[in-house]
């Protein structure tokens, strides 16, 4: 049954009462406007009466409405009847159910600070729930027997904080113990959990049944993701205590990402998506903070369009704007945080962070003749792995595992061409790539560069003015290739990036040039390895959302692992296997950091850490305007603004008052007649 909240009273049948009021009160007033039904009396002459009363209005069809006790009493009686038909539900401090389940929302939107006395919604909900608990156990004129109460807190999942109990102190303590989270809101689990405590299984019946359905007291702002999938069962009754203001606006950061630019691997580009849940457009600055230091601010305020309500789907679509920040130099990684310059009622989504991983040591394969120059260069680089293969060995490995190239970040082909280069990242010297649309039309001698793209990252700190090549392969490159250096005889250095395959192709053998004797060759080699290894890939791990679990593999022998929480507190992680630990759920947004002491034997010399960014999902939880009603799949429950509503029917009292007024009206009428 639909409930409408007005004057802190829930009305079960407001439409019927409105119709009755509109159809009865105006006619009643009209009857008093119209001429009274008077007693006819023939008298010899009305001349004196006319002079006395001067009641000329009596000749008109309507008269001015004069005060009449009868009219007043009739209006009061009629008003009482109308109110009775509207079936008001008034808090009389009692509950008809013998068991009451307190469902308290602790999702991210409940952290909005728009409750009275500068409280968050959760704090207000806890206060109201405590008041409600006291009223249920408080006795009084209209109080029935105190029901058993259960306290369930819910957000991403539900948690029973207090099973059914008659102990008021225990229930209030459970309510006060509810901690805030930044999780999304789901209510289905909470109902299922509560029903699990109220369902009894009768061995004589096939299915379980609910004995004595409980009454639910829902304390929430109404922004619940799975309401349309939540249904109430027969006999279940929900009182929705609407927490928060329906006008609270919120702007949040729904997502943030960071990626290294292909051209500059040591630079990171940061992306953010800002959502606006308020109908009015928003304009504000965004800041980028790396490891606690402000690194960038948007040059001008970011404009975010206002949210739009889709009446058809009954949803609100937030306004969104994508923001791309200028590249940041971040060679070692770190915690990148994007913040709104101004804060609103819901602070949790005014920031979002990603953890940029530090550059990893590369895994390189050298295939081919294994020239001394290249081997020396690679060995001089801080590599994680360097394996040298002969061409036959590499081909054999390819035949065994077509995905073998994925085990290496870069494969250097030193004048060798495997049977397939369908996938992988290659630095190719002299050998003609096969199967990629590059064809050779001979060998050219004595070539020098004629066209150099100095701005390309491959050629950073590379001077090719003195390059002299005694012999090079003349190739015709297809449209997918990008020529970096070109001689009059044809391309000398070119690149290709096609799906899982990317390579840098040098068409000549460096050993047949003076290039190895130049500093530029070393730089070119290092640039190529870095460009191929990191080109265009994300540097940040996907941030977590509230409710996720942090998992980490610590080095063997790691000890004293602790979790540093966003609020600055540190919690020891108890794990039997330090190499595989998990901690969570991470209920609040912010930066979590696992710190541990690395074993000395593994080469570590002190504490190490892993950071986790947990961001509130503003796209789901960012809507901060409190709902005045909750729409379940099958019915709609109007919210009450007070924390102690019990929705007892008041119509019998109203009918009693109406009857008394009618008796009084009858007495007054008899006295007048």
């Amino acid at each position: 049954m639909t409930q409408t909240s007005l004057l802190a009273v829930a009305w079960l049948a407001p439409v019927a009462a409105t119709i009755l009021g509109l159809t009865t009160i105006p006619p009643l007033l009209a009857l008093y406007f119209l001429r009274l039904r008077r007693t006819r009396r023939v008298i010899p002459s009305t001349m004196m009466w006319k002079r006395a009363t001067q009641d000329l209005r009596a000749n008109a069809p309507f008269q001015r409405l004069r005060f009449s006790w009868l009219l007043l009493l009739q209006l009061i009686a009629l008003a009482m009847l109308i109110l009775a038909i509207a079936q008001p539900q008034i808090d009389l401090g009692e509950s008809s159910a013998s068991r009451v389940v307190f469902l308290i929302d602790r999702s991210g939107s409940m952290n909005a600070k728009d409750a009275p006395a500068d409280l968050t919604r959760l704090e207000e909900a806890k206060r109201l729930a405590s008041d409600r608990l006291r009223s249920l156990h408080g006795g009084g004129l209209f109080a029935g027997p105190s029901p058993s109460v259960m306290v369930v807190a819910f957000a991403k999942d539900a948690q029973v904080l207090c099973p059914f109990t008659d102990n008021l102190a225990q229930a209030i303590e459970a309510v006060n113990a509810i901690q805030s989270t930044d999780e999304t809101t789901t209510l289905t689990d909470a109902f299922e959990l509560a029903r699990a405590f109220t369902t009894v299984t009768n061995p004589d019946e096939q299915k379980a049944s609910i004995a004595d359905p409980p009454s639910y007291e829902l304390f929430s702002d109404g922004r619940i993701a799975d309401l349309d999938r939540t249904t109430l069962r027969g006999g279940e009754r929900v009182v929705f205590h609407s927490i928060g203001k329906p006008t609270t606006a919120n702007v949040g950061i729904a997502a943030v990402a960071a990626a290294r630019t292909p051209d500059r691997p040591d630079e990171v580009q940061v992306f953010a998506r800002v959502v606006n849940w308020q109908p009015q457009p928003y304009a504000g600055d965004l800041e980028v903070v790396v490891d606690g230091r402000l690194r960038a601010v948007t040059p001008k305020p970011v404009d975010v369009p206002g949210a739009q309500d889709n009446d058809l789907l009954a949803v609100r679509l937030p306004g969104e704007t994508q923001v791309v920040f200028p590249s940041l130099a971040l060679p070692q990684g770190g915690v990148i945080e994007v913040r709104l310059a101004t804060h609103d009622a819901l602070v949790a989504d005014d920031r979002a962070a990603v953890v940029a991983s530090p550059p990893e040591a590369l895994r390189i394969a050298l295939v081919g003749r294994g020239s001394f120059v290249m081997k020396s260069l690679l060995e001089g680089m801080p590599l994680k792995l360097l394996e040298v293969f002969s061409l036959d060995d590499w081909n054999g490995r390819l035949r065994d595992d077509p995905y073998a190239p994925d085990a290496f970040d870069v494969i250097v082909l030193d004048d060798a061409m495997p049977e397939s280069i369908a996938r992988g990242r290659y630095l190719i010297f002299h050998a003609l790539p096969i199967g990629v649309g590059i064809s050779s039309y001979g060998t050219k001698e004595f070539a020098t560069p004629s066209s150099i793209r100095d701005e390309h990252p491959l050629l950073r700190y590379v001077n090719l003015d003195d390059l002299f090549v005694t012999s090079m392969t003349a190739v015709a490159a297809g449209g997918e290739t990008d020529v970096i250096v070109e001689a009059s005889e044809g391309p000398m250095i070119l690149t290709l990036n096609r799906g899982p395959l990317s390579f840098v192709y040098v068409t000549f053998d460096p050993m047949e040039s003076d290039w190895p004797f130049q500093r530029g060759f070393v730089n070119f080699f290092a640039n190529s390895i870095a460009w191929l290894a990191a080109g265009g890939t994300a540097v940040a791990v996907e941030p977590l959302i509230p409710g996720d679990v942090a998992k980490a593999r610590l080095p063997a022998g790691a000890k004293d692992a602790t979790m540093l929480l966003p609020n600055g507190k540190s919690v020891a992680i108890a794990s039997q296997d330090p190499s595989s630990i998990s901690w969570g759920p991470l209920r609040s947004s912010g930066i979590y950091r696992i710190n541990w002491t690395a074993p000395i034997s593994s080469g570590g010399s002190g504490p190490s850490s892993i950071a986790y960014a947990v961001n509130m999902n503003s796209s789901v939880e960012g809507r901060a305007d409190a709902a005045t009603e909750v729409k379940f799949a099958t019915e709609r429950i109007a919210g009450v603004n007070t924390g102690a509503s019990t929705d007892s029917s008041a119509w019998p009292w109203l009918l009693l008052i109406a009857l008394a007024v009618l008796c009084l009206e009858w007495w007054v009428w008899l006295r007048r007649v």
Binding site: L36, R38, R41, S45, T46, M47, M48, W49, A52, D55
Partner: protein, 301 residues
């Protein structure tokens, strides 16, 4: 009280016996048409000497004072005061407004007219009765002597109250009707929408000794004490027009004030024209009215 159906209902023998001792007096001396029982300023043939005047040709030689002729040798005629009869005109309002009230105003007027007419007849006055309503004036004139009592009673009984008032026309007719000078008794409630001033002015200037007896029912005098209360639709019996009244305390108070103002206005109008005005509530006993009120007002003696 049941309505009047026979002459005895108008006046009973006991009242008649008490009225036999009364006579109508007038503050004025009028010229009658026949000799009556009262002195007139007109010189006549009574034994009471009045004056002398010179003889003129044609005078009755029987009234020549021969003793003066003998002494003065001139003819003088002796004049004597003549006793003349009194013309008593009773005008009864027969409009519908009179047919109301408890006791009924019209019945009361008829009984009062019968009693006054009887007094006039037994005192050998010339009694004339007029009944007036809208565009109708009914009359019975020239009665004298006790033997006309029943005739008068029958005429009064046959009058009915209906229609609207025609006060001005009736007074004009009476004033010009050549009834002779005398006493004019108007029995009416004087509740005339068109006013009483014009009608009274007709008779006030014609030598009548006018008595305006304003008959009002008790519920007209004090409605609150006679069951007039609540939301009422008052219907004027004469015009049929309706007036809606909520008889609250303030309205009733205002009604009494209006009635008093109206009666006071009629009284002032009458006094300025030598008309005797008397309010008569129909609950007043007729005998008390005749033997006490009207005697004190100088109509009866």
């Amino acid at each position: 009280m049941s309505r009047l159906t026979k002459v005895d209902d108008l006046i009973d023998s006991r009242l008649m016996a008490r009225l036999d001792r009364l006579d109508v007096i007038s503050r004025k001396i009028f010229t009658g048409k026949i000799q009556g029982e009262r002195r007139s300023r007109r010189r006549g043939q009574s034994v009471e000497f009045a004056d002398f005047r010179n003889y003129s040709h044609g005078d009755d030689l029987r009234f020549v004072d021969w003793n003066i002729y003998a002494r003065l040798d001139r003819l003088f005629l002796k004049l004597f005061l003549e006793e003349e009869d009194l013309s008593m005109v009773i005008a009864i309002d027969m409009s519908q407004s009179m047919d109301g009230g408890t006791p009924n105003k019209f019945d009361y007027a008829r009984r009062l007219a019968m009693a006054l007419g009887y007094i006039g007849l037994v005192n050998n006055n010339r009694v004339s009765l007029f009944g007036f309503g809208a565009e109708r004036i009914e009359r019975l004139t020239g009665m004298r002597g006790r033997r006309r009592t029943r005739e008068m009673g029958q005429w009064i009984l046959s009058r009915t109250a209906e229609g609207t008032e025609g006060f001005s026309d009736a007074m004009r007719t009476i004033a010009l009707g050549g009834q002779g000078r005398g006493v004019l008794l108007i029995l009416s409630d004087f509740l005339y929408p068109d006013g009483y001033e014009k009608g009274l002015a007709y008779v006030a200037g014609r030598g009548f000794d006018v008595f305006a007896l304003q008959l009002l029912a008790p519920e007209e005098m004090d409605p609150a004490r006679h069951g007039v209360a609540g939301d009422l639709r008052l219907i004027d019996s004469e015009t049929g027009k309706e007036t809606e009244v909520t008889a609250s305390t303030s309205v009733l108070t205002q009604y009494r004030a209006s009635l008093e103002t109206y009666v006071a206005g009629l009284r002032d109008f009458s006094v300025r024209r030598s008309i005797t005005h008397q309010v008569v509530e129909t609950s007043l006993d007729l005998e008390t009215l005749l033997l006490d009120y009207l005697r004190r007002r100088g109509l009866l003696a």
